[in-house]
């Protein structure tokens, strides 16, 4: 009964304070729950998208001498397999066509035999560009090489047999050509094979007519694969899905007992996704957890701001005979009310965010677990912030001591005296250094290994930085308010006039409360700044990634003679030609790009991070300075122990004769990334030199910059002008591919939610703590009013404090946020592809956060000013 009465009294008379405590818990619970649901949803999406990205889940290659029908039966009997279609692979000596009296011939080609219904069963494998969707199909690049179109006759060269002739029915793109022609059964970590330059697709019956005779004579040139789709009822977590799929693949391989090798395409994609999933976990910890912790600390601070009053109330109850257990029961009831209320409200907000932000009900699947965890965390925060201080007060404070109005805490806290902030920051620097030595490799997911290694030590650096930064902000604030009182007084003079000294004295004596408010404003501002800067940098890099993937706004491969036609298309600002060839570096075949080193930077955005040993401008200047200069990958430099100026003799195909010739180059620098280049090793050289050495009739890739027109619109115009056989891609499509490939985690929704919470947190800390601090000092204002203070003078006391605390908090928060942003971006290098040159600062958002913080400070100040106008006698009597 006493408990119920006490709670009813609290709700009647301390409703604002209880609401403030519950509000802090609400933010913490809502943030944790919504981020948890996001994380669970994101992981499930990663798995789904991985599945969608793979046209053929498994490619089972029938081994020489094995019985195809037996292997087919075994594969189809596997409980995981849904579809298995036999695809023939054959190597042709050449393809040729005669167009307008001119015969064009390619080098070796791969000819596939596709069974009926293949395109329907694996729609991601073929993309029709022109002509019929089935029948004899020619790959786009091959069609370009042969100047072939639907209706063109193509001659197929067969080793030791007469040529065969087919008529092209359609031109297709092969989006997954890398996996389609992968070497099945290659050892883990083996370099990927370059896809064939020339590909022809035949109906299975035709293929058998053409290549069955060859299989008898040269079985090494003919093989069969079973392209397989498996059941997709996989676990939501990519790591668990990977384990399930790879185990199933291994099981099938064992069942086949050497008759067939399994190329696990789905497993490989899921292996990448599980790394992304771990990065999502890390992002959650780095970006989300600090916000929840700040919200919990805010709750503690709100509770602590009423500590004096609570101690006095406890003292009164104890003086009237209440036993400590009674008081603890009352505190526990209060904790349940604020914790329960805050948790329910927080979960309601999280449910709304989950429903309307992520499109997922919070109580479905793994989200429910997060909701429960977040709710319990809310109750824990309530217990820690309400119950524990009450218990501490009971065990450490006497009745007489509790009745004192202001605690005489003259001595600095122990952590301040022992320089804990400095030690924490030193620790953070040390941890960052140690993490940096490993190249900021936070997640290690070796191919073929089911376990993922996460470097949890890396979390310590930012955690220590947060803690050290907060304590340093406290120290600086306390120093400013206590040791630099004259400076404070002088600074506040424009606001408080002759009362500036009084305000400075008030702040100095109450420096703990003021410093606490400063620190919380700083932490909330730092959370907002670090989250938003990280998100902006991520978006910026995603854009660069799309640029890298696509090369430019629009990219197309055409004969060099068509560059003028492209430049004349409306919307095209410039079209920079880049030659694409191949070169043998030792035994490795690498892509080689021929560029106009003195001009390319004016048309294509090249980041400094693409190169090593200098800026992009410096490396390009070095390349332009010597015709036979070449930029190579860091791996090549390491493998061949290269030093600048070294002679490199590379073997390249001569476009004029089709033979491979040796061309001398000189090593000039390291290149990591380049528009349209693959992620592994490649070379960049001067286009003029390559043309001089190898002929200039190779097709060029044109990197097109638009004049502000939509890239997809310009791409459409180019398709109209050049025909559908020309491969044209635009950055808008590339952005969608990069975003859905989950080579990095899609942060857009996460950052949206986080930025919203950062705003709420900044508003809450800025306004709430200040308002509560003022509420605690109503007696001071009432006494000042009773002594004759005019409303204007009372207002100046309030506004001077608001200005001091607000400016100090926002400034310190800005600095801490900048340092944290830099640290987070550095540590989370693995999330970025490519790593950023510099931070992207979202000034409009930061201005909005600052404006909101200032508005909340102003609201707190205005509310206090209005409250200070109450007749002092009324206030003093109420108190």
């Amino acid at each position: 009964m006493l408990t119920l009465g006490w709670i009813a009294g609290l709700l009647r008379h301390r409703a604002a304070r209880l609401a403030a405590i519950a509000g802090g818990i609400t933010i913490a619970v809502a943030l944790l729950a919504s981020l948890g649901v996001f994380l669970a949803t994101a992981k499930a999406t990663m798995t789904q998208r991985s599945v969608q990205r793979v046209p053929v889940d498994w490619q089972v290659e029938v081994q020489p001498g094995a019985d195809l029908s037996a292997v087919q039966a075994a594969v189809r009997a596997d409980p995981h397999v849904v579809t298995a279609l036999a695809v023939g692979y054959a190597t042709s000596t050449r393809l040729s066509s005669t167009v307008d009296g001119t015969t064009l011939t390619t080098g070796t080609a791969q000819v596939l035999g596709l069974p009926d219904g293949y395109a329907g069963a694996y729609p991601g494998e073929l993309r029709g560009l022109s002509g019929a969707p089935s029948g004899v199909l020619l790959a786009q690049q091959t069609a370009a090489n042969l100047h072939a179109a639907p209706g063109t006759q193509v001659v197929i060269g067969r080793t030791g047999l007469p040529d065969a002739t087919v008529t092209v029915a359609g031109i297709v793109d092969l989006p997954a050509i890398d996996t389609l022609f992968q070497k099945v059964g290659a050892p883990v970590g083996a370099q990927p094979q370059a896809p064939p330059d020339n590909v022809l697709l035949l109906p299975a019956a035709t293929w058998h007519q053409v290549f069955d005779p060859l299989a008898g004579q040269r079985p090494d040139l003919v093989r069969t694969q079973l392209h397989t789709r498996i059941r997709h009822d996989l676990p939501a977590d990519p790591a668990a899905a990977y384990t399930q799929v790879s185990s199933s693949a291994n099981h099938l391989a064992v069942t086949l007992a050497g008759a067939g090798l399994v190329g696990d395409n789905l497993g490989k994609v899921l292996a990448d996704a599980r790394s992304d999933a771990r990065y999502a976990d890390i992002l959650f910890l780095f970006l989300g957890l600090p916000g929840a912790v700040v919200a919990a600390l805010l709750t503690a601070a709100v509770t602590a701001s009423g500590a004096t009053r609570r101690r006095r109330e406890q003292a009164l109850l104890r003086a009237r005979g209440a036993a400590p257990r009674h008081l603890l029961r009352l505190a526990a009831a209060e904790a349940v009310v604020v914790g329960g209320g805050g948790a329910v409200l927080g979960l309601a907000i999280a449910a709304a965010i989950a429903r309307f932000g992520f499109g997922t009900p919070i109580w479905s699947g793994v989200g429910a677990g997060w909701a429960v965890v977040a709710g319990l965390a809310g109750l824990l925060v309530a217990a820690l912030t309400v119950l524990v201080p009450a218990y501490r007060d009971l065990s450490q404070t006497t009745v007489a001591g509790a009745r004192r109005i202001v605690g005489a805490q003259r001595r600095s806290p122990a952590w301040l005296r022992y320089g804990l902030d400095g030690w924490l920051l030193l620790g953070a620097a040390a941890m960052l250094w140690i993490t940096g030595r490993n190249g900021y490799q936070l997640v290690l997911a070796p191919e073929g290994v089911p376990t993922i290694s996460v470097n949890y030590w890396a979390f310590l650096g930012p955690a220590l930085l947060w803690a050290g930064g907060a304590l340093l902000a406290w120290r600086l604030s306390a120093l400013l308010l206590t040791r630099a009182r004259r400076l404070t007084s002088w600074t506040l003079r424009p606001v408080a006039g002759t009362l500036s000294g009084t305000v400075a004295a008030t702040l100095s004596r109450g420096y703990r409360q003021a410093s606490r408010t400063v620190v919380f404003i700083a932490l909330a501002a730092a959370f907002a700044a670090s989250t938003s800067i990280f998100a902006a940098t991520y978006r910026h890099q995603a854009e660069i990634d799309a640029q890298l993937t696509n090369g430019a706004d629009v990219t197309l491969t055409v004969p060099a003679s068509q560059a003028g036609t492209v430049r004349a298309v409306p919307g095209v600002r410039s079209a920079e030609p880049v030659q694409h060839r191949f070169a043998y570096v030792g035994p490795d075949l690498q892509d080689m790009y021929g560029i106009r080193a003195d001009q390319i930077a004016g048309h294509v955005a090249l980041q400094d991070s693409y190169f090593s040993g200098g800026t992009a401008q410096q490396l390009l200047r070095r390349l332009a300075g010597r015709p036979d200069a070449v930029l190579v990958s860091a791996e090549t430099v390491k493998d061949f122990q290269l030093t600048p100026g070294d002679l490199l003799r590379l073997r390249l195909p001569d476009a004029r004769t089709g033979t491979t010739i040796t061309v001398p180059f000189h090593y000039a620098g390291i290149v990591h990334e380049f528009p349209t280049a693959p992620t592994d090793s490649f070379l960049v050289a001067n286009a003029a030199y390559l043309s001089q050495q190898l002929g200039d009739n190779a097709p060029v890739t044109l990197l097109v910059s638009t004049n502000g027109a939509s890239p997809s619109t310009v791409a459409g115009r180019l398709r109209d002008r050049l025909g559908s056989a020309t491969r044209i891609t635009d950055i808008e499509s590339a952005r969608r591919i990069v975003g859905s490939s989950l080579s990095a985690v899609d942060l857009s929704t996460l950052t949206g939610v986080e930025l919203g919470f950062a705003l709420a947190l900044t508003a809450a800390t800025a306004g709430l703590l200040l308002a509560l601090g003022f509420a605690e000092r109503r007696r001071t204002f009432a006494l000042a009013a009773a002594l004759g203070a005019r409303p204007r003078q009372l207002a100046s006391l309030v506004w001077a404090e608001v200005a001091m605390v607000g400016v100090a908090g926002l400034l310190l928060g800005g600095v801490l946020g900048a340092v944290l942003s830099k640290t987070l971006v550095t540590i989370l290098t693995g999330v970025f592809d490519p790593p950023p040159d510099r931070l992207a600062v979202p000034w409009p958002y930061l201005a909005a956060v600052t404006a909101l913080g200032v508005a909340c400070l102003a609201a707190a100040g205005a509310a206090t000013t209005v409250a200070a106008r109450r007749p002092p006698v009324t206030v003093l009597r109420d108190l």
Partner: protein, 222 residues
């Protein structure tokens, strides 16, 4: 009449409305001049503090008229005209003794250095110069009340109103505080009204107004 520092006619103060209304001061007429030394006595709840607050201009009457002829009108928002000593802790907790004493002077527009000089002088006059740098929490009840008297002295008010200034003090401190208030009133030529339920305090003043149920029942010259 023109010499009156404060002049009240049929003064009333009612809190609340309707059936829950509480009449704290009921039709009180009184005046205080510069030479008056009045003990306002009565039981707890008799309306002493409310009347004192009305006379100080800290509260607004709900009936009657109230004027401060010798002060040129309401003292509200005009620091220094009336010196107040409150019941219980009346010093601002975050300010030390000297800053507390100087505050009314600063609120009245005084310069910082001059206000501090006068504050230190007033503390010395009240015999507590050594407490200038102490915070209120470091002072005993008697010391705090003497600092509060020094605050009154520093601002040289025309009227001193003290609400139970000795309520929490022992006999020695009680007499010391009353002596200080009387000396201050004499030195400043100010009127003095002390609300108290302690007859030993009231006995030290020449006049006594006895309040009961919101009314002044008796006015006794001692």
């Amino acid at each position: 009449m023109s010499e009156d520092l404060v002049h009240a006619v049929e003064l009333s103060r009612t809190y609340g409305q309707g059936r829950t209304a509480v009449v704290a001061v009921h039709s009180v007429s009184c005046a205080v001049g510069p030479t008056d030394r009045v003990a306002l006595t009565g039981r707890s709840g008799s309306g002493k503090s409310t009347l004192l607050h009305l006379l100080a201009g800290l509260d607004r009457p709900t009936g009657g008229t109230l004027d401060w002829p010798a002060l040129g009108g309401s003292p509200s928002g005009r620091p220094g005209l009336i010196g107040l000593v409150f019941q219980g802790p009346s010093l601002l907790p975050p300010l030390d003794a000297a800053e507390n004493v100087a505050l009314p002077l600063l609120l009245a527009g005084g310069e910082v250095a001059e206000s501090r000089r006068r504050a230190l002088a007033a503390l010395a006059e009240a015999g507590v110069a050594d407490l200038a740098g102490k915070l209120p929490e470091e002072l005993s009840g008697g010391q705090a009340q003497r600092v509060a008297v020094a605050r009154v002295l520093a601002s040289s008010p025309r009227l001193i109103l003290a609400d139970e200034p000795t309520a929490q003090l022992d006999a020695a401190h009680r007499d010391e505080v009353v002596r200080l208030l009387l000396a201050a009133a004499d030195a400043l030529g100010a009127g003095l009204v002390i609300a108290t339920h302690d007859t030993r305090v009231a006995d030290q003043l020449p006049s006594r107004w006895i309040m009961d149920d919101g009314r002044i029942r008796e006015r006794l010259p001692c």
